[in-house]
């Protein structure tokens, strides 16, 4: 159990069955380490055994990890593989090439739209996501959508939820969303209040680790050593200082809210399942979504998903979920890599390497070592590395949950 588990601690006053919190059927309650009943589409380590050979038949080729899977029954496929998905964020938006935030927003909101049957309102803080999606008089949003100030989005979302309740429309769900600046810095007071009151809002933070819209200034989510416009790569310790910043998923857990999860745009199955899970619960929920920014990070647009994957596979971005302040599930590292592999493709870490030999040994090995220490600490803290040599549990790819050994729902 991670060291910050707070059940029984001073902030653990809220009971799992408290008002505003709905337990899913079969849930083991607040203290359960692993949910006993997974929603459809969750992954088993092995599929059903075939009767004749005992060898499990799985859906290897197509997609254990890919977006779609022609061999899987359509009802178990991802939202994004559906030709009729909402496309909450439509084409023509002005996000940069390869924008991770645009991708993450569509992933999360399309999943939320399916989970709520389309009864949903989104409240959006000022920031990239707002600016690139709604230049007057155009909008990319195909959902009810409100723009708020940079800092008051959680409060506005709370108000929308309250208004819907008063109007007798509690089935309409509310999502608040902001970038990392609007969440961890400017909006944090309002967000903490929203958590503390357990308001019925799913708040999504699209974390690209700096204020990208205004020109890549440091936020409290900017990682150590990263260059930004306000933490230039100069001096003895170039880039953002070590030892600062806020770990917002952990802060959210400290509020003991019903649901906190982290996810990346590199694992769509995991992300969609978490959104779906969040929408099953009433009360304050928080999703911290890791979305690489090619422009702000000085990375190739094509590498957006690869970088998100590397952030998870190095251990720098732990992917987990927690209920009522207790970590209940962790996405384990599947192919562990040293942090260098994550740092090298990014211009914001260029000063750590030799400009004359960018593929050679680090120019600042001590800094790289300290970043590796952060990853190692996450790995130990969350138990990110499973038994050696195995595909981590829950990572071995989907089998058909209906238990049919090798029939398929549709021919293709």
């Amino acid at each position: 159990m991670p060291e910050f588990a707070t059940d029984g601690g001073p902030t653990a006053a809220r009971e799992s069955g408290s008002p505003g919190s709905v337990e899913p059927p079969g849930s083991g309650g607040a203290g359960a380490a692993v949910r006993s009943e997974d929603p459809p589409g969750s992954r088993d380590a092995t599929g059903p055994a075939s009767p004749s050979s005992g060898q499990p038949v799985k859906f290897y080729q197509v997609g254990s990890f890919a977006v779609g899977n022609r061999l899987l029954d359509p009802s178990y496929r991802t939202v994004q593989s559906d030709a009729l998905r909402t496309n909450a964020l439509d084409s023509g938006h002005r996000a940069c090439q390869g924008c991770g935030e645009a991708l993450g927003a569509r992933y999360a909101l399309d999943a939320a739209m399916r989970a709520t049957g389309g009864s949903m309102v989104a409240v959006n803080a000022t920031g990239c996501l707002e600016v690139f999606s709604t230049p007057y008089p155009e909008s990319s949003w195909r959902i009810p959508w409100l723009h708020s100030l940079f800092g008051n989005t959680p409060a506005v979302a709370t108000g929308v939820a309250a208004a819907l309740r008063v109007k007798g429309r509690p089935e309409v769900r509310v999502v608040g969303q902001a970038g990392d600046g609007g969440t961890v810095d400017i909006g944090f007071g309002c967000l903490s209040g929203m958590f503390e009151r357990n308001d019925d809002v799913l708040f999504i933070c699209y974390d690209n680790e700096a204020y990208m819209n205004t020109g890549v200034q440091r936020s409290a989510a900017t990682p150590p050593a990263a260059r930004t416009a306000t933490t230039e790569a100069v001096g003895d310790e170039p880039g953002n200082p070590f030892g600062q910043g806020k770990n917002l998923p952990v802060l959210a857990m400290a509020h003991d809210i019903p649901y906190v999860a982290t996810a990346t745009v590199a694992d769509l199955h995991d992300l969609e399942r978490k959104v779906e899970r969040a929408m099953e619960i009433r009360g304050a929920r928080y999703l911290h979504l890791f979305v690489p920014c090619p422009l702000g990070w000085g990375a190739a647009p094509r590498d957006t998903i690869r970088l998100a994957r590397l952030a998870k596979e190095t251990g720098l971005f732990p992917v987990f979920e927690a209920e009522h302040g207790v970590v209940t599930a962790v996405s384990q590292i599947r192919r562990q890599v040293p942090v260098e592999e994550y740092l090298r493709p990014q211009g914001r870490y260029r000063h750590l390497f030799d400009p004359a030999d960018p593929d050679g040994p680090p120019a600042r090995p001590e800094t790289v070592r300290r970043i590796q220490e952060i990853a190692d600490r996450n790995i130990a803290r969350y138990g990110l590395v499973g038994p050696a040599g195995s595909d981590a549990p829950g990572e071995a790819g989907p089998s058909d949950p209906s238990g049919r050994p090798y029939e398929t729902g549709e021919a293709r």
Binding site: S52, F59, Y60, V67, R94
Partner: protein
């Protein structure tokens, strides 16, 4: 328009903003050539039939397979599967067991009685195929599919050539061979067995053939001229294996020495073991790693108790014994004699020193070129005589305009297909159309993150006691679930398998999903050219191309 209070304008859609104009590179869907297909001498589209098999559409998979190779149950058993040697999955865990699947589909077809499609309208052209080995059967099948009237003339009593008279039954059960040959013949081919062609020049002038394909194979064992006493018992491996099809199998005695290091030597040794030889030794001049035999054959022979004598030659054969000379490899890897001699007890010596073709039937054909015991052919497999094509073991294994090839049944099947295509073109007065080859989908083109670990399926093997005493088939087949498991291990290198990744990962919704089997289309009005789809395509079926300005 009536608007609510303080609202002056309806919201417009961002679709008015054609972000495709930002693009400097565009993604384009491609089909690359999977390494398995590239390596298949018979030109099978392996990736395509595996794709069909993955969802259990075995008949569709089989129909796709037999478009190239009409003998899947046979080839799934005896082919040395160069496809698997090339398979990209080997770099991930282990190669996909393609041969096991080919055999499974072939066996399914026999079990369910799937027939080959009836040929199209009769072309009226008559083609003679001489020899009913893999090359002849393949050529006849493809010629028939093109609508020609085909006659196969075979000198032996039964068809199949070396498939029947060279490959032991424990590797290829005869009912399987018979079923697949019957199915080919049933497409309307005239099969004349026991009809040797003595002089093809005469046949071609006295009979009304529009074209002829000759593939008589290499049926004669090579003789090393080993000094031997009068009563020494020496026979060659071809005769031994051929004799297995007779009523009474050859008598070999208890101690059998096989001389040679190729696959035929091991077939002979394993056959001798099954005929009751308790002591079977393979004698080879060089070392194990230089043996031309395939590694799996060596393993199987050793498992069955066949002994190996490397770096040895036979100096002399007497009745009941032979004299071995030890060899050493020189710096060029050639074996050199040492003069050290040793006696070895052996009731029979079997020579497996390679085979050669009996080319007497084509010697008098005007224009034909014969050199080093093989017939010279062009890239279209036509000999020097117009209208006479040749393939299989009797043609030169490499020439100026053809890449070097092994001498295997699979290569012969490929020859038959190519010759049929060339004959069809020649009869129509066309040049054979060159088949465009796509760029090979190398391992570097794949994003293997999206494939999860999947250990290969092991085919069951007959227990050793029965392998040493009976001619029962050694290697078992896959059952339906293991076949499906194995098919799904295919990475679909270089060919879209509709995993929806490009459709899912596009931040601009610029990929249009066209529905099952129809793949996807890029919406270039909105594609900004970020290239995420290229990076995240598991199988390397998208490339970026510079935008034309």
């Amino acid at each position: 328009m009536e608007e609510p209070f303080a609202i002056t304008l309806d919201p417009g859609s961002s679709r008015a903003n054609r972000t495709g104009s930002w693009r400097v590179e565009r993604p384009v869907y491609v089909d690359r050539l999977p390494p398995c297909n590239d390596a298949c001498p018979a030109g099978e589209n392996i990736q395509r039939w595996l794709y069909a098999a993955e969802d259990g559409s075995y008949e569709a998979a089989w129909r796709s397979l037999v478009e190239d190779s009409p003998l899947p149950a046979v080839m799934g058993r005896i082919c040395y599967h160069p496809c698997e040697t090339a398979c990209n999955r080997a770099q991930l865990d282990e190669t996909v067991g393609i041969h096991g699947l080919e055999r499974f589909l072939g066996d399914q077809a026999i079990e369910h009685g799937w027939g080959l499609a009836a040929p199209p309208a009769d072309s009226g052209r008559q083609v003679l195929v001489v020899g009913s080995g893999p090359a002849g059967l393949s050529a006849a099948y493809h010629l028939r599919r093109a609508g020609h009237r085909v006659t196969i003339r075979e000198s032996a009593d039964r068809p199949g050539g070396m498939l029947r008279y060279g490959i032991p039954a424990y590797r290829l059960p005869r009912p399987v061979l018979d079923a697949e040959i019957d199915r080919i013949v049933a497409t309307g081919i005239t099969l004349e067995c026991g009809q040797p062609v003595a002089d093809l020049a005469e046949t071609m002038t006295s009979e009304p053939w529009d074209a002829v394909f000759v593939a008589v194979g290499a049926q004669r064992g090579r003789d090393a001229g080993i000094p031997a006493g009068d009563s020494a018992r020496i026979l060659d491996a071809v005769t031994l294996l051929r004799g297995m099809e007779d009523q009474a199998p050859p008598m070999l005695g208890r101690r059998v020495a096989v001389y040679g290091g190729g696959n035929t030597a091991l077939d002979a040794a394993r056959t001798a073991r099954r005929l009751g030889a308790t002591d079977t030794v393979v004698i080879y001049r060089r070392t194990r790693d230089r043996m031309p035999a395939h590694e799996s054959e060596v393993e199987d022979a050793l498992d069955e108790g066949v002994r190996m004598r490397w770096l040895s030659t036979i100096a002399r054969v007497e009745q009941g014994s032979l004299l071995l000379e030890r060899m050493v490899l020189d710096e060029h890897g050639f074996p050199q004699p040492t003069g050290e001699l040793e006696e070895l007890g052996a009731d029979t010596v079997v020579l497996a020193l390679g085979q050669e073709s009996d080319l007497s039937l084509v010697e008098r054909v005007p224009g034909i070129e014969i050199a080093d015991g093989v017939v010279r052919v062009g890239s279209d497999l036509m000999t020097g005589r117009a209208g006479l094509f040749a393939g299989g073991d009797m043609i030169d294994p490499a020439s100026a305009d053809r890449p070097p090839e092994e001498r295997t049944a699979t290569v012969a099947i490929g020859h038959g297909k190519r010759a049929a295509r060339a004959i069809d073109a020649w009869l129509a007065g066309r040049r054979p159309e060159p088949v465009p080859r796509h760029e090979i989908a190398g391992f570097d083109h794949l994003n293997t993150w999206y494939y999860s670990d999947a250990p290969p399926t092991v085919q069951p093997r007959l227990d050793l006691a029965r392998r040493q005493s009976t001619f029962d088939e050694v290697v078992g087949g896959l059952d339906e679930s293991t076949a499906l498991f194995e098919a799904r291990r295919c990475l679909s290198c270089g060919n879209c398998f509709e995993c929806d990744n490009c459709f899912g990962v596009c931040p601009d919704n610029a990929v249009v999903k066209l529905g099952p089997g129809l793949r996807y289309r890029f919406d270039y009005d909105y594609c900004k050219g970020c290239g995420i789809c290229v990076e995240e395509c598991p199988c390397g079926a998208i490339v970026m191309e510079p935008e034309q300005v």
